[in-house]
Amino acid sequence: MADAIRIENLRKTFRLGFIPRPREILKGITLSVREGETFGYLGPNGAGKTTTIKCLLGFVHPDAGTIEILGRPHTSPRSRERLGFLPENPYFYDYLTAREFLAFTADLFGLGQEEKTERIGRLLKLVGLERAADLALRKYSRGMLQRAGLAQALINDPQLVVLDEPLGGMDPLGRKEIRDIIVRFKDEGKTVFLTSHILQDIEMICDRVAIIVGGRIVKEGGLRDLVSEKVLFTEVTVSGLPPQAFAGLGESVSIQGDRVLLKVYDESLVEAVVALVHDRKGRLISLSPRTETLEDIFVDTVTCQ
């Protein structure tokens, strides 16, 4: 399976300010994204995520290293023919309507008239902007702009979709819709490269992730490999019994009325807790084992650097 994106030893230093003071942002990034996979690119703010994307798309010229997109050098405009990009805070020509903007984008790809109309109609339906299609973009809410951005990213039926924080600023319903669309990409065989701060969503949709901290990739691998199924602790919610009853078995985390939330670290002690509740005629409200999540890995990795 070929690589959709291959980045090797990417370096970039910015010289900003009136008296230029160099700041090395990317210190040698190497990663590859295989075709058809959904890749999550994570990192704290200022780590270099957006800079990597800017280098990838040719907004910024790398100081060193090579980048290949779908087998072509990233400097060639042809490498972007089958690429779609949704920027973090979408900015478009706000006097155009969504329909006009999509028509313009289609013109940039040289689509024929019929194909243009068909695709625009289909994409507007997909992102849920059918009714607002003829409103000027300046009247759109943040969520609507994000949807319009997604539509323009898909106008050329891309093989590789690059999404910078696609789920930011959306309401829960919107997030679900966008997530579903991204999952559909996988079914269609598209490659997805996305960044996000919302790790729960990454966990849900990505196959592989990389974590960038301070301009370097510090962790990379398949999601299932990085995140073990190990149970960290079990949360037990009980009512009708005082917290002291569980001393030695678990840690009481919060008390609300007569409900007690316990954290039981030892798996074997969970059964003891359940038995105790049963004996003392208390009520077991809920019991949920908490496995290691991506967030745990992330916090761990970042704080270690």
Partner: protein
């Protein structure tokens, strides 16, 4: 397949070559354009008038427009009778206008008009009109008007002759200028040249009317010549004999005249023994 860096480099080289090519092109065409002679009239003389120089620099590509605006202002300015010393800078102001647009005709003419009629400064008028002639050597109007001023206002006939001669040389000058010149020569007192000039005009007259005019003038010149000769002879007779002759034949008899002159039509002059002067039987203009 070139490496991406080499690809980018070769495009940059191409662009730099294109840049150099465009530069060479523009330099070449500028040179070619410079060589084409445009009717840029000699006006870039050294101006000692600071405001004129400043205006020329401040006007960029809009010198004729600046000339228009200043001229408009000047017209209003000189029509304001309450400004007592408005003629003090007449030449200065019109010099600026002429400098900005040397081919703008009205300011020369109107400036000279104001100089003659209102400022009563004939030399200022000449200065303006001379500038007009110098800047527009193909326009007959300027020496014409100067000649007109010399003839009518200043009554400086040699000067008038000079201007009319200058005017005649310019292609397109009307034919009456020739006649004005001849008249100026007559008024100057050079009767011989005047006769010859009028004779030329008579011979080259394109139509009957001009011929008639020339003929009248010839009559007039001949009459002047003859009257001068007669008056001269009569005066000499008086010196000898203490009185004016009774008639012209007496002058011939006594040898002061070779023969009794007749006017151009062959008629006699009328002689007055009391004054010793002769005059024509009819007016030259009513023949």
């Amino acid at each position: 397949m070139k490496t991406p860096a080499a690809n980018k480099g070769s495009v940059t080289v191409l662009l730099v070559l294109a840049l150099a090519g465009a530069l060479a092109g523009l330099v070449t065409f500028k040179g070619l354009t410079d060589r084409v002679v445009r009717k840029k009239v000699p006006g870039s003389s050294i101006i000692y008038i600071p405001s004129g120089k400043f205006l020329k620099f401040a006007a960029f590509g809009f010198r004729p427009l600046a000339a228009d605006l200043i001229y408009l202002w000047a017209v209003q300015y000189f029509s304001t009778p309450t400004i007592d010393d408005r003629f003090q800078h007449l030449d200065h102001i019109f010099a600026i206008i002429n400098e900005l647009d040397p081919r703008y005709q009205d300011p020369y003419e109107v400036g000279a008009l104001i100089a003659v009629q209102e400022k009563r400064d004939v030399q200022a008028a000449f200065a303006i009109l001379d500038r007009g002639a110098a800047n527009n050597p193909d326009q007959w109007i300027y020496p014409f008007e100067a000649g007109h001023v010399a003839l009518m206002t200043l009554k400086d006939y040699p000067l008038a002759e000079k201007y009319f001669t200058q005017c005649m040389k310019i292609p397109g000058a009307p034919d009456f200028v020739e006649r004005l010149r001849a008249n100026a020569i007559f008024k100057k007192g050079d009767l011989r040249t005047s006769w010859e000039t009028w004779l030329d005009i008579f011979k080259q007259a394109p139509d009957e009317r001009t011929k008639k005019i020339a003929s009248n003038h010839l009559y007039n010149v001949k009459a002047a010549i003859d009257r001068a000769a007669l008056g001269d002879a009569a005066a000499k007779y008086r010196e000898r004999f203490g009185r004016f002759p009774a008639n012209l034949e007496e002058l011939v008899r006594t040898g002061f005249l070779r023969e009794v002159p007749k006017d151009l039509d062959g008629k006699d002059y009328l002689y007055d023994p009391g004054t010793g002067l002769a005059k024509t039987a009819i007016s030259p203009w009513k023949r």
